[in-house]
């Protein structure tokens, strides 16, 4: 009997070990399917060695005037990526464009466009929102948003999803802080919704009509719900290698919901570089920012490079350009590992 029990015990332990071994974590690795400019691919391989973190698909473009070199790992020019907060540069373009059209002024107050009553947020100007000097916190300070952000960390899902009404209601209840630089997704969400209200349309339609269509970015769009995505829309990976849900952000879309491709982002970056983009004044530095150099409307300028990065639950991105060297760089990545260093490094590569 004792021997039989021992045999069962050993068998049970062995089965547990086998089950555990079968469940061994298998995080994705940088794709071996590589296409594009041979030299740039080689450069990327060298840079990625020094850039820690999980990788799977990566697409990059280095634009020197009319010359465009690309490199893809596991992707093509038409592969869809979430670009995260690079979306803010698009919202910023819409602001500069709306000022040119005479729809709004830099000093237009948020309360003139959104129903904010007599709240503190009503007196925030569009210029303050676009330069991240609004006094608003990073996220809407609601209990639901806080809990949602906390839970999203563990479930790898989209922590956003408020309606425009809920976003505006949060703003009316927010204490506005000191008007110094504080990066705010909340502020950019309100800015995008205010611009949409000024144009009497929705944010996704506004950015399509005034930015994506004029630039020929036919595979770029701003979803606000998962229903706006194709059933097989690509999703990315968290730092642990877990598949992340798509981020569509709801009313916070102007802060980071845009999905795009490398081909489209090349059009966008080139238009910023040669100043043909709608609302290109957004790229001009407006005020100094400690450590980062200066900020225009969303765009940072650091040591001559004008740039913005992005990150969602499963993607990171970087777009930058330097008009003095006539170079622009786009980096798109489907994991949460940062690509900022890659972006800056590619700005320097010969």
């Amino acid at each position: 009997m004792k021997n039989a029990t021992r045999a069962v015990a050993i068998g049970a332990a062995a089965l547990t070990l086998i089950a555990g071994a079968l469940a061994l974590p298998r995080p994705p690795a940088l794709s071996g399917e590589v296409t594009g400019d041979t030299e740039l691919v080689g450069t990327m391989r060298e840079l990625l060695v020094d850039s820690p973190g999980l990788r799977d698909r990566v697409s990059v473009a280095v634009i020197d005037g009319d010359d465009v070199r690309v490199a893809h790992f596991g992707a093509s020019g038409e592969t869809e990526y979430e670009i995260g907060s690079v979306t803010k540069t698009m919202t910023a373009s819409l602001l500069a464009d709306a000022i040119e059209r005479g729809e709004v002024d830099a000093d237009t107050q948020l309360g003139e466009l959104l129903d904010l009553g007599v709240s503190e947020a009503a007196s925030i100007t569009l210029d303050e929102l676009a330069t991240q000097h609004s006094g608003l916190p990073r996220l809407a300070p609601s209990l639901a948003q806080t809990v949602s952000a906390l839970v999203a960390n563990y479930r790898a899902n989209d922590p956003y999803g408020a309606s425009v009404g809920e976003l505006v209601a949060s703003a009316t209840e927010t204490d506005v802080g000191e008007k110094r630089f504080e990066y705010s997704n909340f502020g950019f969400a309100l800015l995008g919704q205010a611009l949409a209200a000024a144009a009497d349309t929705s944010y996704p339609d506004l950015v399509e009509q005034r930015l994506f269509a004029p630039l020929g970015m036919s595979d770029t769009f701003a979803p606000t719900t998962p229903d706006d995505l194709d059933p097989d829309a690509p999703t990315g990976y968290t730092a642990s290698g877990r598949a992340s849900d798509a981020w569509t952000l709801g009313a916070d879309a102007p802060a980071g919901s845009v999905r795009s491709t490398l081909d489209d982002m090349v059009l966008y970056a080139r238009a910023q570089l040669d100043e043909s983009a709608p609302g290109v004044k957004a790229t001009e530095p407006v005020t100094e920012v400690d450590d980062l150099g200066s900020i225009g409307y969303a765009w940072f300028t650091t040591e001559g490079v004008t740039w913005h990065n992005g990150g969602t639950g499963g993607f990171t991105s970087w777009v930058g350009f330097d008009r003095s060297t006539d170079r622009a760089v786009v980096v798109l990545n489907n994991t949460t590992a940062s690509v900022d260093e890659l972006g800056f490094a590619l700005m320097e590569v010969k």
């Binding site: 029990t5 021992r6 069962v8 015990a9 050993i10 049970a12 332990a13 062995a14 547990t16 070990l17 555990g20 071994a21 469940a23 061994l24 974590p25 298998r26 995080p27 820690p52 973190g53 999980l54 990788r55 839970v151 960390n153 563990y154 479930r155 730092a239 642990s240 290698g241 877990r242 590992a337």
Partner: protein, 116 residues
């Protein structure tokens, strides 16, 4: 934060294995219910570590350490099983049911938080 789940997985696996292998008053499981709950704790925390640990930075092979400890615990649990009462003799059956239900609810909430 992500690394904490790895340490917790090791700790809970060790607690389970100790409670299964040890017959002492401090660490040893006093009932089958204790043993089961301790085992399920270890598996759930292991599951959390699998989902949350940054496996691109930490070698995935390290996963096998807590798995091996849990496997050893399962083996010891089988050996001790027949010699243990269903619930602790020093507590009432009602206490065991309430404790078991609360424990299971917390674990279910944790699993729901992770994948629900």
């Amino acid at each position: 934060m992500e690394f904490i789940t790895g340490f917790l997985a090791l700790a809970f696996a060790a607690i389970f294995a100790l409670s299964a292998a040890n017959r002492g008053k401090v660490w040893g499981a006093k009932s089958r219910l204790d043993l089961v709950l301790s085992g399920v704790d270890a598996v759930v925390v292991l599951f959390a570590a699998r989902l949350l640990m940054p496996w691109s930075i930490v070698s995935p092979w390290l996963w096998l350490i807590p798995v091996a400890i849990v496997a050893a615990g399962v083996g010891f649990a089988v050996i001790r099983w027949s010699g243990l009462p269903v619930t602790r003799p020093d507590k009432s059956r009602r206490h065991a049911v309430i404790w078991g239900a609360v424990h299971a609810a917390v674990l279910a909430a944790l699993v729901f938080l992770l994948v629900g």
